[in-house]
């Protein structure tokens, strides 16, 4: 008994297990074949450290000239790989060494792919954070001149414009897009193929073209002039194909057996679509809508030609110049005054936050249906 006790206790055992299970655990210690050990971390950290020192030696002591920065990092990385490979081969054999090396290369690839996102978001956050405060969200640029501080003024007028234009565009594009998706996936009439083709092609429509179209038809032809509504129309054109294609894909995932079940109960086709197919796809449809909104919220070119841009708060989207956040950024960043440029970065940060909020909403909506909820519950139970 004493002997078993002597070899049994392990530091990685859970401390709060009851006596009986502790005894069981003593007899057969739990193994975690895939868990990493401190030795693995140590091997890698040691390799990286020795590579760092080697690089320093080469760069600071051997080379007749100084190269710093990027070259240093690249050399460090390049030296880490063979050292780590040698270390692992020595300890675990060549197969394990190749395996670890491949893991590192693949992880590097993933990190490189992710880095632009983090760089962009990080840079915008650092530049913009200094400007954003309460006043930035509640003041306009009406009384802000070239000599004002960067903290003066704000983009209330742009925020209001963005929300109104996005709202109107969503109100127009979502019913149209969802109806088109229903046509494509449920009715599949003779026009389905060309419609899908056009929708696919329209996702690649240059946004400036949408702006030009609305500019020439609505702004000029009708004599309506610049207005937030014209901007909404341009955004609608851009939003429609995104919503349509995303919604169609969601509707396609609804199992055909549900449609059959509804029809077998004696339901007319339109009722089975309305009461069974669309509610089943509800979460996915919400995601499609929000993806469409996120697609257009940052568009600058079409609103430049249709909304006009102004420094004054205009809450009526149907007449006169409005502003929105991308336009605000565009107009401020072109200024030669440093204060204006700083405000532009604040606007850019706010735009990023807006997109982030939309994506979080999309994720929430994606997991909000009865099916999604139970999925999450099942995941938690495991």
């Amino acid at each position: 008994m004493a002997a078993t006790r002597a070899i049994a206790p392990k530091p990685d055992e859970k401390p709060d297990i009851s006596d009986k299970s502790a005894e069981v655990a003593m007899r057969a210690p739990r193994r975690r074949p895939r868990a990493w050990r401190w030795a693995d971390v140590g091997e890698f950290a040691g390799s990286a450290a020795s590579a760092l020192l080697l690089t320093w030696l080469i760069f600071d002591r051997f080379l007749p000239f100084r190269i710093q920065g990027v070259a240093f990092a690249v050399a460090w990385y390049a030296l880490t790989l063979p050292i780590y490979w040698l270390v692992v081969r020595d300890g675990h054999g060549p197969v394990a060494a190749r395996d670890r090396l491949a893991s590192i290369l693949i992880t590097t690839g993933a990190a490189l792919a992710l880095s632009p996102i983090f760089l962009v978001v990080g840079y915008v956050t650092i530049r913009g954070l200094g400007v954003i405060d309460f006043g930035f969200l509640t003041e306009t640029m009406e009384l802000t001149g070239p000599l004002s501080e960067a903290g003066d003024g704000g983009l209330l007028h742009s925020l209001v414009g963005t929300l109104q234009q996005l709202g109107i565009a969503t109100l127009i594009a979502v019913p149209l897009g969802v109806l088109t998706a229903v046509y494509l996936s449920e009715i599949t009439g003779p026009l389905a193929r060309p419609t899908r083709l056009v929708a696919d092609a329209m996702t690649a429509l240059p946004s400036i073209v949408a702006g030009l179209f609305v500019y020439s038809i609505v702004v000029i032809r009708t004599g309506w002039g610049f207005s937030g509504f014209a901007g909404s129309l341009a955004l609608t054109i851009l939003m429609l194909p995104t919503v349509t294609i995303a919604a169609e894909q969601v509707l396609r995932v609804v199992p055909g057996s549900l449609r059959e079940a509804a029809l077998a109960l004696g339901s007319p086709y339109w009722r089975s679509v309305l009461l069974v197919v669309l509610p089943t796809a509800r979460a996915g449809l919400a995601t499609a809508v929000i993806l469409g909104m996120a697609r257009v919220v940052g568009e600058t070119a079409p609103v430049l030609l249709t909304v006009g841009g102004t420094n004054i708060l205009n809450v009526n989207p149907f007449s006169d110049y409005q502003d929105n956040i991308p336009l605000f950024v565009f107009n401020q960043i072109r200024s030669s005054k440093e204060t204006f440029v700083e405000r532009a970065w604040g606007g850019a940060l706010l735009l990023l936050i807006l997109v982030l909020v939309l994506f979080v909403l999309a994720r929430l909506a994606g997991g909000a249906g009865p099916g999604g909820k139970s999925r999450r519950r099942r995941g938690a139970a495991k």
Binding site: P255, S257, L258, E260, A261, A262, L263, A264, L265, G266, S267, P268, R271, S272, L275, V276, P279, T280, R282, G369, P370, G371, K373, S374
Partner: protein, 274 residues
């Protein structure tokens, strides 16, 4: 107009048992595109009798079942010949609208398919909602349908839970309850137990047994013992290679399993092929 009238009529006829409709396939043939899968099927499915359709895979029995409530035509290339009479009316004729046909001839599918976006209670009521009818006494109808499907005691306390949380066998009985809630005359079952465990299977067979006098049941099954247990009438389908499926033999279940006339039937029911 006649929801209540029909209900009243059905309740009246329920006293004079057995209730349910008589379904009759007359010279039914079916094609998918140019391929003929079913030829000259005549089967009488009488009220108060459970009719089992048996036969190896690909012999057309599921196709025949789907012809019985006009689900066959959901496949774009599907065509058919012959007629199906429900209490004497051709269901492919102009007298009966397609939605009315499908309401009177309900169907339970091979895989349980409750509506995931609805609660258990809503699933039971889905048929009424989908056919655009009002339910005067929702709770009562839910309870009655679930009781008839043998599910009431298991779900009575969670009628507002999502239907996806039920087990496979419970989901299948929920689908049966959903079909029963629209008060069909005939209930078609396409291998209703093939995705279920033995306990759920037995539960559903009990349900079939209890329902037999209230609605005409036609069941497709691959399980010989099941056909023997639940049915009184039995039709054996067979398709030779590159030929459409035909009914080789039909008659009382005891007869088909006890003393079949055709040697192929004897081979099949005794498990020598298929």
């Amino acid at each position: 107009m006649s929801t209540q009238e029909t209900e009243a009529r059905q309740e009246a006829t329920a006293v004079v048992q057995p209730a349910g409709g008589t379904l009759r396939g007359v010279g039914v043939s079916a094609w998918f595109g140019s391929r003929r899968v079913l030829e000259g099927v005549d089967i009488d499915m009488r009220a108060g009798v459970v009719t089992a359709l048996i036969g190896p895979s690909g012999c057309g029995k599921s196709t025949f079942l789907r012809i019985l409530n006009r689900m066959h035509e959901l496949v774009p290339i599907a065509t058919l010949a012959g007629s199906v009479l429900l209490d004497g009316d051709d269901i492919y004729g102009t007298a009966l609208p397609i939605t009315e046909v499908r309401r009177r001839i309900g169907m339970v599918f091979q895989k349980p398919n409750p509506f995931p976006a609805m609660t258990i209670g809503d699933n039971v009521m889905a048929g009424l909602k989908l056919t655009g009818r009002k339910a005067p006494n929702r709770e009562q109808l839910i309870e009655e349908s679930l009781r008839r499907a043998g599910l009431w005691n298991e779900v009575r306390n969670r009628l507002n839970a999502p239907a996806g949380g039920l087990s496979g066998g419970q989901q299948q009985r929920l689908c049966i309850a959903r079909s029963l809630a629209v008060r069909p005359d005939v209930l078609l079952m396409d291998e209703p137990c093939s995705a279920l465990d033995p306990t759920s299977t037995r539960r559903i067979e009990e349900t079939i047994h209890e329902l037999k006098d209230q609605v005409t049941i036609v069941i497709v099954t691959h399980n010989m013992q099941q056909a023997q247990r639940v049915s009184q009438h039995c039709a054996f389908f067979l398709a030779a290679e590159d030929e459409p499926g035909r009914v080789v033999e039909q008659g009382a279940t005891e007869h088909i399993f006890g003393s079949p006339e055709d040697p192929r039937t004897a081979d099949y029911v005794n498990g020598r092929f298929g």
